[in-house]
Chain length 220, copies 2
């Protein structure tokens, strides 16, 4: 079992019982999603964007237009913080104080390296696209050189990380269990609906297998 | 119609067609959720946490233990960046390049003020709790003085903000519409499941109305 070293940066200060530094658990939370929030600084002002990612080992790939503020600034090798959160439900205690949320969340610290070689960019875009929808890359028309050239791709090595996981029902103060207040938890779930074909779809083209594989299913 | 001023900070650089600075649209995206990612700096290192929020006018409230890193550092009045993102689906184009995601996202810039008066804290916690589940505050046992004292509450005034919204199907390069590749979009939806009563629930207590109101329903 491999663990991320616990340092001042990634140490979970509050709710330490819910924290984990285990690499496998952290990777599982990352692999269950494809949308992260990516934060970075410009002159002491924090900026953040929601963006898609893909993982290979301890590297996370993100992409954007080469003209975007994020790509231009993060490519300089500044420290970044990246978070992925899955919301699993509401925790409804007897006391307002003990209300909580069930979730799986990861916070990653690292620095980004810009990928410049077309073949490496292509590999990273494969990784991001497949993380969004497995099997889609081979169904789609692959990026051409112009498309690769206007896409900025960053590799963020996970230098430090922590996760927090909360599951199950509420925990109340001992004296509150006698109150006539309903308590419990309310699961939340993100799912795929039914696919909607493009209005301009050529006749006679069936829904792709990548899409058929997930439509109507739970997501994370 | 009130708009946030477009400055260098909140100006959407890429995908400007999808951007809005309209206060009402931004508030609607905020009010459709309760989980944000909050980013701040300590010595040029960005930190981020997922946390719940509530909105009153142009103020967002967040809370945490008075001992938490976020509360302790953000309460100093440093600039923060806060983002709320609703994932609405996958956009599956013919080309890998034009793949996208349907979403509603807001990025907020502001500075936090710590709320110290117990009655103001109570008001802010009411706002956060009601934003998570409307009607729950009055069902629950209210915070006592000790609980208010160990809860740190921050008010973040929205000084600058922008939103991006993408909806609908893919847009491909003209020459790609002839390819025999399925294209379309795949909606995603977060929903509440059925409530699960606490194992230690006193006998004869019915599920609260706040919970009955939302269980099985769509979330955002």
């Amino acid at each position: 079992m491999s663990q991320f070293e616990i340092t001042k940066k990634n140490k979970v200060v509050r709710g330490a019982k819910r924290a984990t530094y285990d690499e496998q658990e952290i990777f599982e939370i990352l692999d269950a999603g494809f949308l992260c929030h990516l934060a970075f600084n410009i002159n002491d002002q924090p900026f953040m964007i929601p963006t898609a990612y893909g993982r290979r080992g301890d590297i996370l790939y993100v992409h954007g237009s080469v003209k975007s503020r994020t790509i231009k600034n993060v490519a300089k090798g500044v420290p970044v913080c990246l978070s992925v959160t899955h919301l699993d439900g509401l925790v409804l205690a007897r006391s307002a104080f003990h209300h909580s949320v069930n979730y799986r969340s990861v916070v990653i610290y690292g620095t980004a390296v810009e990928i410049t070689e077309r073949s490496d960019k292509n590999e990273a875009l494969y990784c991001i696209t497949e993380n969004i929808l497995k099997g889609r890359w081979n169904e789609a028309r692959k990026p051409n050189e112009k498309e690769l050239d206007i896409t900025g791709v960053l590799a963020i090595k996970i230098e430090s990380a922590s996760a927090k996981i909360r599951a199950g029902g509420p925990v109340d103060e001992l004296e509150d269990y006698d109150l006539d207040i309903w308590a419990g938890h309310l699961p939340m779930q993100t799912s795929f609906g039914d696919s909607i074909s493009d209005e301009k779809l050529k006749e006679g083209i069936a829904v792709s297998s990548s899409v058929k594989e997930v439509e109507g299913n739970k997501f994370s």
